[in-house]
Symmetry: C2
Subunit: 261 residues, 2 copies
């Protein structure tokens, strides 16, 4: 795919497609990753390819939970790295939490490709200016972000296969997990462990979306800078009463209106 001009009305969608096909060529993705991205594109089309009000609320709620966490972790798969590595590293730097690579079809080649990509992006981000409003030494904060996943030392209980492998310093002992693009079984197993799960899922009907603590029905590239903004600027220390089902229904209503127009 060629260059995508910034002025294109569907810039975000075309850029996502480009990043994913490049990541596939770089060996970062399983066969089914592009298909999963396509499913997301279809739901995003129904959303009007914009962050809806209920998603905006869910992002703020997520920022509050992540900042209140005793041990937060950002769990990433291949698609998350392809689409939003830099913003996720920025979020981890602000929170001083680790990023853990956890993929469904685990192969040494893909793990190495993802780990290398994250380390490369970590260096790039560390050389940038700090996000507006953030105070401190940005270069140090970014360089201190630990990237886990290469050497899992634990397993998620009640979950089969290599996706159950995880790290004690990351997913296993975290109380709040931010997981873009999660699989349903793993979300359920982690909820069973009593963790607060924050997921980004464009399908408001998916098992992941229905089960999570907070579901952000939005496209990852679009929501990640907003989450970063809220992590830097949001000051609330209280958790307001959160009704995830009601919030999900509001996102669903946006799609219904569009189909019904």
């Amino acid at each position: 795919m060629g260059e995508v001009p910034l002025s294109h009305p569907r810039y975000n969608s075309l850029m996502g497609r480009k990043l994913l096909t490049e990541a596939a060529a770089d060996g970062m993705l399983a066969d089914s990753a592009l298909i999963a991205h396509g499913r997301g594109e279809a739901y995003d089309y129904l959303l009007g390819e914009a962050t809806c009000e209920s998603a905006r609320t869910a992002i703020t709620q997520s920022a509050i939970l992540m900042k209140q966490a005793k041990r937060c972790v950002i769990s990433v798969n291949g698609n998350a790295v392809a689409l939003a590595a830099a913003d996720l590293i920025r979020c981890a730097a602000v929170l001083q939490c680790p990023i853990e690579i956890n993929i469904y079809y685990r192969t040494p080649e893909r793990m190495t490709a993802l780990n290398s990509r994250l380390k490369k992006v970590r260096i790039e981000v560390s050389n940038e200016e700090a996000p507006t409003g953030w105070k401190g030494n940005w270069q140090t904060a970014v360089s201190d972000v630990v990237i886990l996943g290469m050497n899992p030392d634990s397993r998620i209980p009640n979950l089969e296969g290599p996706r159950a492998n995880c790290c004690a310093d990351g997913i296993l002992n975290a109380d709040v997990i931010f997981v873009p693009l999660e699989d349903g079984d793993r979300c359920e197993a982690l909820m069973e462990m009593g963790k607060k799960m924050i997921v980004v899922d464009l399908n408001p009907l998916s098992r992941t979306a229905r089960r999570a603590t907070v579901t952000i029905v939005d496209e990852l590239m679009r929501m990640a800078p907003i989450l970063l903004f809220d992590l830097v600027n949001e000051v609330s220390n209280e958790t307001p009463k959160w009704d995830n089902r009601a919030n999900l229904d509001n996102s669903l209503a946006v799609m219904l209106r569009r189909l019904d127009e």
Copy 2:
């Protein structure tokens, strides 16, 4: 991906995913083909992964138009070949019409891979029993199906790029074109030429779906055997008044009900 057991409740969806990833590995698909398939999966999920009543009606209408055509052609891209090569060859054999390969991102490698696959499947299908109800020499009927596209000698007017290349014996002079999984621009250009366009598109809001003569909102692997059945068994010689918009709205209503349930 491993074997998909026939008893799996989502057999068709998982088999489609398997066929597409295998076709990608065989060099039959462009980068974006898997993403496009994923978009289809999402809409099919909203359809309940079943052929709805309005799709069933659209298939019968398509069979009538294809049988009435002076010159019918079946136009295929990589995804159509991956998912339904055998059934599309069976349909072409019943109609004694050509199949033309027409792809968006045309490369000699992909064209050769698709042409070889179709020729291989044509031999396999010619050695099968004829479809129930069909009379004649099946082996001859199948062997006579012409596969076009390797040597385009014409262009579709008002359409840019290699996807405009086509064959005089196929798309250029056809009056009825059956195109699974069509791109919007090409559908419009062919409609402008006065052709009857029959498309299979899981997104009832797409430009292709809104513009075509008959839109079948269904999954290709699921609808192809039904089309074949109608081509063999449907006897109507009349074209009833066809309201494609009304039919599309009925498919949309199925999705709306599912989102709203």
